[in-house]
Symmetry: C2
DNA sequence: CCCTATTCGGCAAACGGTTGCAGTCAATAG
DNA sequence: CTATTGACTGCAACCGTTTGCCGAATAGGG
C-alpha cells in the first residue's frame, strides 16, 4: 500500500540496506548511489515509517506532554511553544490532559511510555516518589517542580512576587493580602516565602487568606476575606483568581484600583483582556515549553545528568493596581 | 530492556502467539491458559508495544489533531475534549499547531501520516483540493468546513447569528454592524447569510465592515467603523474581536452596553471573564471535539462513508448587550 | 473402542526498518 | 606484479507483535 524502503530499493536498483543508510548515515554511501536513491525516493514520495525504525533503534521521535488542564489559559502558550520547538527538532508530541487526576496521570504515562522517547510533565499532581519511580524507565522533565534525579524547568515566581510587593509598597499600600492557591505546590511555597520576606523588609503587613479554589469563583469568595482584613492590595494565586477577586470587590461596590489594588499571576489572555487590565506576575510559559523540550531532548540524547533551568518572572504593570487610598 | 511478549510467554510457559492472542482475541484461548498468561503479564507489568503491533495490523491507535493556533482561546476546549474522548477509546493524540500556515499544515500531515490512523483538521487553511488529495491516503475529519468525500463536523453559526439579530432587534436596535473576520471561511459565509436574512426579515439595517484581523487589535480598529456607521449594535467575528471593539468604543468614550451593544462569537473564557461579560454566540467546541473523534474513529473502522454532523450554536446573553439608546 | 469434529496452541512468516558482518573491487604501497 | 587497505554495498538477523496454517489433543457420536 504505502511506499516502503523496499520499493525505493527496487526503483534505485540497490539493496534496502543501502536505502536505509542513505537516510541514516549518508556518509557511508557513495555520492553517486546516494543521488540515485534520493531521486528514486523523491519520485516515489517515500517517507520513512518512524514507528518501524523505532522498533530497532529505540527512538520513536515522539514526546509526551502532560498537563493538568488544557483549557486552563495558563497551559496553551506552553503547549504551543513546546510543540513548535519539538517539531523543529523533528519530533512530534502527544498532548494529554489529566483533569488534575494523579491516577489518570500515572496510567497515561504508562501507556504512553512505549511510544515516546521522553515526557514533559507540567505541574504534575503525582507524588515525587511516583515520578522518581517512573523516571527510572523513561526520561522526564518536570516543569515547576523539583524531583530528585530529573531535569526541571522552574519559573521563579519569587522574583516576580518580590517585585509585586515592592510595586504595591511603592504605591503606599501598607497591608497586603496574599491569596494562595489550593495546596502545597512548589509555586505557592515560593510565593509565600518571597512575599513574607519582602513585606518584612519593607515594613508592610502581610495577611495570608484561603486557601481557595484556583478559579474565578475562588476569587469571588476571597474578595470578602480581603475586605475583612482591611488590606488595600491583593496578590492572587493566578489571573483567574485575581479576576474573581475584582469581580467580588466590584459586587460589593469596591473600586479596583481606586480602593483596592489587585495583582494576578501568569499573564494569561484572560488577564490581558480583562477590564481593568490586570497587573500580573508574568510567567514565561513559552520559554518554559521550549526549555523543557530542550532539556528532555538532551536527556534523551544520553546526558543522564539532571539539568535545571530557572526562568525569571517579572511584574507586568497594567491597570488593576494604583495608589493606596488615603 | 523493557518487558516484551516473549518474557511473558516464557514466564507463563506458553508460546508468544498464545500471549498475543490472549490480548487480541481472548476467545481463542482456553480460559485456564488465559488466566496463567494474564497473571504472568500482570506480575511482569507487561504493556504491549503499540508501535510494534501497528507494524502488522496497520492500526497505530494514534490520532492527529491539527489546529491553526493552540493559543487562540477557541481551540483549547476542543483539544481537551477530543483528547479525553480519544483516550476513552484507547487512542492517543498528537496535537499540532500550524501557525495558520498552509505550507506547514501539509508538511505536518505528511510526516504524521505514517504514525496515525486518521487526522482531525480544525478549520484547515489548506485548499479543498489539497485536502481531498491527502484524504485519499488517510481518513480525515474536518471541523467547520466541508470537503467532498470527507466527514465533517459543522458548528452551525447561522442559528446563533439569527438569534443574535433577533435579540438585538428585540432590544430596539435598528442598525446592526457585522464585523466579519478574514474572508471566505465557511463560518464567515454562514454568518453573513444568516445575518442578511434575519435583518431583512425584521426590517433592520445591516452594515458589513472590514474585513479586519480576527484579533483584539482588529476589533479596536473596527470600533471606529462602527461609530461611523451610526449603528447601535455590533456582531463581531469572535470574542476577541468583540472585546477589542468594546475597548475601542470605551477609548472613544462610548459606553457598552449603554450606547452600543456588542455580541461576540465562540464563548471563550476571555469573553466570560471580560467586563462587561460578553453576550456571545456559543460554539459547542467540546462537543465538536468529541464528535470529530467519533466520526474519525468510524472512518478508521472502515465506514468509508463521509458522515456529517451539524452542531447547533445558540446565543448566550450576558451583559454586553442592552436596550438601544433612545 | 474407533472415528471425526473441535478446540488449542505452536510454528513461522510477515510488517518496515537498522546494523554488524563479510565480500567485492579498485586504488595504493612495496 | 602482488599484497594490503579502504570504500562501498549486499546479506541476514533482529526489533515486538500478529496471524494463517497445521498438528495434537480432547470430546463426542456411533
Amino acid at each position: 500500500m504505502a511506499v516502503t524502503i523496499r520499493d525505493v530499493a527496487k526503483a534505485a536498483g540497490v539493496h534496502v540496506s543501502t536505502v536505509s543508510r542513505t537516510f541514516s548515515s549518508p556518509h557511508l554511501v557513495n555520492s553517486a548511489t546516494r543521488e540515485r536513491v534520493l531521486a528514486a525516493a523523491q519520485r516515489l514520495d517515500y517517507r520513512p515509517n518512524r514507528a518501524a525504525s523505532a522498533l530497532t533503534t529505540g527512538r520513536t521521535h515522539n514526546l509526551g506532554l502532560i498537563v493538568a488542564d488544557i483549557a486552563n489559559p495558563f497551559f496553551p502558550p506552553l503547549i504551543k511553544a513546546a510543540q513548535a520547538y519539538a517539531r523543529e527538532r523533528e519530533y512530534h508530541v502527544f498532548v494529554a490532559d489529566t483533569d488534575e487526576d494523579p491516577q489518570s496521570e500515572e496510567e497515561l504515562i504508562q501507556t504512553l511510555a512505549k511510544q515516546v522517547d521522553g515526557v514533559v510533565l507540567v505541574a504534575p499532581r503525582l507524588t515525587n516518589l511516583a515520578i522518581e519511580r517512573l523516571g527510572m524507565d523513561l526520561p522526564f522533565v518536570v516543569v515547576n517542580r523539583r524531583v530528585k534525579g530529573l531535569s526541571a524547568v522552574l519559573m521563579d515566581i519569587g522574583h516576580g512576587t518580590t517585585e509585586a510587593v515592592e510595586h504595591l509598597a511603592g504605591l503606599g499600600h501598607r497591608r497586603i493580602v496574599l491569596a494562595p492557591g489550593p495546596r502545597a505546590s512548589w509555586s505557592s511555597e515560593q510565593m509565600g516565602r518571597a512575599a513574607a520576606s519582602a513585606t518584612e523588609r519593607l515594613g508592610v503587613d502581610l495577611v495570608v487568606t484561603g486557601p481557595n479554589a484556583p478559579t474565578e469563583q475562588g476569587g469571588v469568595t476571597a474578595a470578602a476575606e480581603v475586605l475583612d482584613s482591611g488590606a488595600t492590595a491583593v496578590i492572587a494565586y493566578n489571573d483567574l483568581v485575581a479576576i474573581g477577586v475584582i469581580e467580588g470587590l466590584n459586587d460589593r461596590g469596591v473600586d479596583v484600583p481606586g480602593q483596592v489594588s489587585v495583582v494576578g499571576v501568569d499573564d494569561t489572555v484572560a488577564g490581558r483582556l480583562n477590564r481593568p487590565k490586570l497587573t500580573t506576575i508574568a510567567m514565561p510559559t513559552p520559554a518554559a515549553g521550549r526549555t523543557a523540550v530542550d532539556l528532555l531532548l538532551q536527556a534523551v540524547a544520553g546526558g543522564r545528568t539532571a539539568a535545571q533551568a530557572t526562568l525569571e518572572t517579572s511584574l507586568t504593570i497594567r491597570d488593576s493596581t494604583g495608589p493606596a487610598p488615603s
